[in-house]
Symmetry: C2
Subunit: 131 residues, 2 copies
DNA sequence: CTGTTATTGTTATATTATAACAATGTAATA
DNA sequence: TATTACATTGTTATAATATAACAATAACAG
């Protein structure tokens, strides 16, 4: 389920390429700046590509930071179950791939027995380097 | 730890009051519109109040929606451990108060044994009414 | 080729959030 | 009281994030 689509469009490839080259989340307008030499001139071109890439699970949005990071979680077959650790000091972000965690959360039911088809979890703390 | 402060300032009270009267998350500019009759005219006045109210745990930000909801989780002594269920159809949002869930997540350690002092979890699905 | 759909290019604008600085209020204390 | 320190407020302007709308082009199945 990680990949719902085999081929990416030109703009989607360009945007994904930039994001994959970065080890850290990138902001939309920083992506825009970086792809201008490739001919993408306006925000909608970037945002459309971002939307699609998020949809097919190639990238994830870090909601608390309004930034986008490439998915490197090869075990991340469930694109709609994401977890990240975020350092509040250096802003380093890592995708967490714990099958135990994802099982626990995917099976979570609220008081009324409702189950969810999607979740996003963001952990915050101070990373090793910053300690 | 839910309340770090006994008294709220005038603007903080006004903003909190509006949010508490709403059963659902409110957007900052909708709050602004609603408090203009009370004399708060400009965005910074609202955003400052929001920042403080989030900090002391009176409200939470729903990151995926850029909206703010009052904390009604009386058991929510840990303001920095938040979980919500969000209906993707009607946008209904509920704060989840499950001590089991919060214990599990507060104790979660990543591969390198790192623990976190804060998390935010957002579940997505279709609520009962919308089914 | 023809109709259909996805993608792209483009301009303008909407929405969310903060910088910067002056003015005022509040409270402890010299 | 006068003095200081600090939090809060008011205000203007602007930054940062994201989408609407529509025309043009490309991709592709029938
Ligand atoms: Zn992933
Ligand atoms: Zn760090
Ligand atoms: Zn709460
Ligand atoms: Zn619903």
């Amino acid at each position: 389920m990680a990949q719902k689509k085999e081929y990416l469009s030109k703009n989607q490839k360009i945007v994904l390429d930039i994001i994959e080259k970065s080890s850290q989340p990138m902001k939309a307008y920083s992506i825009l700046f970086n792809v201008q030499k490739k001919g993408l001139k306006a925000p909608p071109q970037v945002y459309r590509a971002l939307d699609k890439l998020v949809e097919i699970g190639k990238i994830h949005k870090i909601e608390s930071r309004n930034a986008f990071i490439a998915c490197r979680n090869s075990a991340c077959t469930i694109t709609n179950a994401t977890a990240f650790s975020i350092c509040e000091s250096c802003e380093d972000v890592k995708e967490i791939s714990s099958s135990k965690l994802s099982k626990y959360l995917s099976n979570f039911q609220d008081k009324e027995g409702m189950k969810y088809n999607k979740y996003n979890l963001e952990f915050f703390g101070i990373c090793k380097k910053c300690k």
